[in-house]
């Protein structure tokens, strides 16, 4: 479907649902109706499902994450990467044997420090998605060079490509596809507050039209001491503190927003604390809490364990790890970063099995962009397409998805210095994950507005 049909489809879908709900003719703005639309979508929210976005801040060096392993490919890789290349003998233990053989007899290996993820691949719970990235529509290298098709705005810029990955718009975007999935399921959840939960701070990914991202620390929801207990001995002052910081404000939008956030913080804290305390604080599975990503995923796991108390049937989570912008020190720092990713995801995978929800929770990695395959001596520079992993019991894992890029510089798949032109759009991944969550095909443009630009709307990597 071409994007030109999108408007009509949305209008038709809206009208269908609006008339079902008796809303036709009301003058409220579109966004206000989304909760009502979500109500109509509630039929799709049977059971429990959750999506976990694991964002690698700074642009992960995909070239040393999923590494060419067959001898000719590794030779090409080593010739290009020089001192950055991981020697082939160090990759033997993490070389992957996919259930579906790859074209050209090619083989790939995970980075050695991603070894904790190999069992999940072998067990069919981890899939590797090759060369995915931001696009407006399918794009060839020739079209890129000629600028003859629309390209994602502000390519190669960290903040903007993070935003485009998450929200299909550069910095300044106000809703991402995680949040827009949340929009459709708000009314399926007992409390809409716990639909989109961020354990990493702030990301546009989790903001919807209606869905508001709820931020929680790795230690849980933080109580305001001066509200929950007398302030400097005074209950009247505690009451005043609550009143000042949580009451709706008048005209000024900044004051309004500040108090809205504080009211949400104070309002949700007791619920979250009670829900978390009712579930086990730890799992048989160890999480390395010196690893910030593992700490975040442990909190996600605890929240999933508390899903009944939180009244959640559909949730989208966001966690992140920084430090990936390795223009320098790639060899010194990248393996340890990937070790954190591998360790944290492996713990999370095991914890989901422990909770019996392995097939109901899907985690996936994402990043600003991939990087150059060529070396700048001690690191790599900003690129575009990248390899990522998708993990969970519902994943048709143990195999590769997407198209294998050529291992070359200025070859058929890159736009210079081994910057991959993505062959799979983030929109396609988003639509695939949204569909698994229960978003109907007809609703998909609400979540992934550009999906009509693609003929393949579901990558098939989830059962």
């Amino acid at each position: 479907m071409h994007i030109g049909n999108l408007k009509n489809l949305q209008r038709r879908e809206f009208l269908r649902r609006a008339s079902a709900l008796g809303l036709v003719g009301t003058a409220a703005p579109w966004a206000l109706h989304l909760a009502a639309i979500g109500e109509a979508a509630a039929a799709d929210a049977s059971g429990y499902k959750a999506l976990v976005c694991v964002f690698l801040n700074g642009g992960n060096d995909h070239g040393n994450t999923v590494v060419p392993y067959d001898q000719p490919s590794h030779d090409a890789y080593a010739a290009i990467r020089q001192t950055l290349a991981t020697p082939r003998d160090q990759l033997a233990a993490t070389a992957l044997t996919p259930s579906v053989a790859l074209d050209g007899g090619r083989q790939w290996a995970l980075a050695p420090t991603l070894a904790p993820l190999k069992p999940a691949f072998d067990a069919g719970r981890l899939g590797v998605l090759l060369n995915v990235g931001t696009l407006v529509q399918p794009t060839s290298v020739a079209q890129y060079r000629a600028r003859s098709v629309p390209l994602p705005p502000k390519l190669f810029s960290h903040n903007d490509q993070q935003s485009v990955w998450q929200a299909a718009m550069p910095e300044g975007a106000t809703s991402g596809w995680g949040g827009r999935i949340g929009d459709l399921f708000l009314s399926s959840n007992g409390s809409s507050t716990f639909t989109c939960i961020n354990v990493a701070g702030n990301a546009v990914y989790l903001s919807g039209q209606q869905a508001v991202q709820y931020q929680i620390s790795t230690g849980g929801a933080i109580a305001v001491n001066g509200i929950t207990r007398p302030l400097y001995g005074s209950q009247a002052c505690a009451d005043a503190l609550r009143n000042l910081t949580t009451s709706p404000r008048g005209n000024n939008w900044l004051e309004q927003e500040l108090n809205r956030v504080t009211a949400r913080s104070v309002g949700a804290q007791a619920t979250v604390a009670a829900a978390l305390s009712a579930a086990p604080a730890n799992f048989a599975t160890p999480f390395d809490t010196t690893n910030p990503l593992a700490s975040q995923l442990l909190m996600v796991a605890r929240l999933i364990a508390s899903r009944a108390a939180l009244g959640a049937k559909r949730q989208v989570f966001f966690v992140s790890l920084g430090g990936f912008d390795l223009h320098d020190n790639l060899n010194a720092q990248h393996p340890a970063l990937l070790g954190r990713v591998g360790g944290a995801l492996a713990s999370f995978d095991a914890a989901m099995a422990e909770l019996g929800v392995a097939s109901q929770v899907t985690a996936f990695t994402a990043s600003d962009f991939g990087r150059t395959l060529s070396s700048n001596g001690d690191g790599s520079d900003h690129g575009w397409g990248a390899h990522h992993v998708v993990l969970g019991g519902a994943v048709r894992g143990g195999r590769f998805w997407g198209a294998q890029p050529e291992v070359s510089v200025n070859g058929t798949d890159d736009v210079g210095q081994g910057r991959l032109l993505p062959t799979t759009g983030v929109d396609q991944l988003a639509a695939t994950l949204a569909g698994w969550m229960g978003v109907a095909d007809s609703e998909m443009p609400l979540v992934v507005p550009q999906i009509g630009n693609y003929t393949q709307r579901n990558l098939g990597l989830l059962a």
Binding site: S175, I222, T262
Partner: protein
């Protein structure tokens, strides 16, 4: 080889096909209908919506004040000296706290005299010298960053040259380096020297500031200019692009061409135009090769960290180079080529509005009107004596603009005070000192228990918050209003801040104790006490409802003992600093 396919692009000055789109235009340009505009989905363009917000909303207040600031330089007519609340409010923008000496000078001699006196003050004792004087230049501190926190807090909490310190903090959030990102020996010394460099140039010329930043060891290490080498055709090694990209995106011109009022220059079909593309980055990376620390042994001692980096000709890329498509001859040596590149960037018409708007955001308000930005940009372009990039003229234009001086409160006016600035204001207002002179405030980054922000500890070169950040799920987001500091505002940080302040107001931090002895005598009268903190902390801007709420609550503590009076003081301070009409600085 690498630039062969790029060459045609370098000659093209109109990157129209490359450019970001405004709402609907992208789809229409390719023969398709746009998505419904109310959905706020991908085709909405930030810059366009920002312009709309700036022109339709009251922004910082919409002006309407005295209009006594010349657009091109210094004031043409002296402003009337401020009242005490006006002085307190002004010191919240130009400094950290309403100190009595600064307030007296402002109310007695006026804004201009105070600014000139601040401009004339020598920088207070330097960060680097302080680290050395403490004996930190030894192997035991080679990888220590906590000593940098000490000296950073020392000056934030105690330096008398408050305007310089405030502007330097702002500059450190534009020209960002970050302690956790300095993977070198002597990171604290790199940070200290960097802050000394910002201090040295804060009131000088932007062009010299840009050069000093570029050649500083701290920036060299942070954005990898240090050690960057020419390409090698045998191995395929390419120059590192990091500094070339970020110096354009963040320190000089930004991503899209701007009008003098900060709005994007739009083509007839509504598209914005990029200032540069990937090929320009690759070409500029060639220019930034050959630089390294000026030492034979970067491990031996930290002395080199205060020296500009040196150029090593053998590592410099040979051949023709360019900046923004303008050729730099192969004959130019490394320093000459860098000079041409920095000259070109510093002279780009974007710099005034791009940097000027950010300085307004750091000091005054989040969403300045285009006219305000244009006045600041004009001062950047010409200080009144034909000089471009005079930081003093820019600072005067930012602080004395009618929109800064006499704002009308609107839906989008003001800014959220940075967490660090709230804490510093409290500490300075209530006489916090460090008897040991070690200033162990530490890293305040923890969002759940401290400030969620710590000086020179940004998570990346993109600062703690972006100038273009628009809070989603809010009236601000619906209207595309930028409010950078809200990027740090979430359910965790709002609680973490209140808890942190409750603790420090009562206990200080370790040996850093507040001195409330001058406050206690005023605590018997709750109304006067709260009014005092409204003046000192909020520039007298708390609303009647807020004052009433706080006064009633504080007054309910019976002031019968010194302990009770102390609790009145503590509660009044915390409640003022929690109030939304305090946290949003107007």
């Amino acid at each position: 080889m690498q630039t062969s396919h790029a060459a045609p692009h370098l000659a093209v000055q109109d990157f129209g096909h490359d450019a970001p789109q405004i709402p609907g235009v992208l789809a229409q340009a390719h023969g398709a209908a746009s998505i419904p505009p109310t959905l706020h989905l991908p085709s909405a363009n930030l810059l366009a919506t920002t312009v709309a917000a700036g022109s339709l909303l009251t922004a910082c207040g919409g002006g309407g004040g005295g209009g006594s600031t010349a657009s091109g330089g210094g004031p043409v007519a002296k402003l009337p000296p401020p009242t005490q609340p006006q002085a307190a409010r002004f010191l919240g923008q130009a400094g950290f706290a309403a100190g009595s000496a600064d307030t007296a000078m402002l109310t007695g001699q006026g804004y201009e005299a105070w600014l000139e006196a601040q401009f004339a003050m020598s920088p207070s004792s330097g960060h680097f010298d302080w680290l050395l004087a403490k004996g930190y230049g030894t192997a035991a501190y080679k990888y220590n960053t906590g000593i940098a926190d000490q000296t950073l807090w020392r000056k934030l909490l105690s330096a008398p040259d408050v305007l310089r310190q405030r502007v330097v903090l702002a500059l450190s959030e534009i020209f960002v380096i970050s302690l956790p990102g300095l993977s070198i020996a002597w990171p604290a010394f790199a940070a200290a020297a960097y802050m000394d460099t910002l201090e040295a140039h804060a009131f000088g010329s932007y062009r010299q500031l840009l050069q000093a930043v570029t050649l500083s060891c701290g920036m060299g290490a942070y954005l990898n200019l240090r050690g960057n080498q020419k390409g090698d055709t045998k191995t395929g090694r390419q120059p590192d692009e990091n500094y070339a990209r970020e110096v354009m995106q963040l320190f000089t011109i930004g991503l899209v061409q701007l009008n003098p009022d900060g709005s994007p220059k739009l083509l007839a079909d509504g598209r914005a135009q990029y200032t540069y593309n990937q090929e320009h980055v690759t070409a500029l990376a060639q220019v930034f090769t050959g630089w390294d620390f000026n030492t034979a042994d970067a491990n031996a001692d930290p002395g080199f960290m205060r020296l500009p980096m040196r150029h090593i000709a053998t590592r410099f890329a040979t051949g023709d180079k360019s900046v923004l498509g303008t050729a730099i001859p192969a004959s130019a040596d490394g320093p000459t080529a860098m000079n041409i590149a920095l000259d070109t960037l510093a002279n780009h018409p974007n710099v005034g509005p791009f940097i000027g708007r950010q300085i307004v955001q750091r000091l005054v308000c989040s969403n300045p009107s285009p006219a305000y930005v244009a006045r600041v940009a004009a001062a950047f372009a010409n200080n009144g004596q034909g000089q471009r990039g005079d930081m003093k003229a820019v600072i005067r234009a930012v602080l004395l603009d009618p929109e800064a001086m006499a704002p009308s409160i609107g839906v989008a006016s003001g800014k959220l005070r940075e967490p660090v600035l709230r804490f510093v204001q409290w500490a300075r207002t209530f006489g916090v000192t460090s008897p040991t002179d070690l200033w162990n405030v530490g890293d305040t980054s923890n969002p759940g228990s401290r400030l969620g922000q710590s000086p020179l500890r940004s998570p990346s070169v993109f600062n703690f918050f972006r100038p273009g950040y628009v809070p989603p799920d809010s009236a601000l987001g619906a209207s595309g209003v930028t409010a950078p500091e809200f990027q740090l505002c979430n359910e965790t940080t709002v609680a973490g801040y209140l808890n942190f302040m409750q603790g420090v107001i009562q206990n200080g931090i370790g040996e850093l104790k507040p001195d409330y002895t001058a406050e206690l005598p005023q605590a018997n009268d709750a109304t006067a006490l709260v009014a005092r903190y409204s003046l000192l902390l909020a520039g007298g801007r708390l609303g009647a409802d807020t004052l009433g709420t706080i006064t009633t609550a504080v007054g309910s503590i019976a002031a019968t003992t010194d302990t009770a009076r102390l609790n009145r003081v503590r509660a009044a301070i915390l409640l003022v600093m929690a109030a939304p009409d305090y946290q949003i600085q107007q």
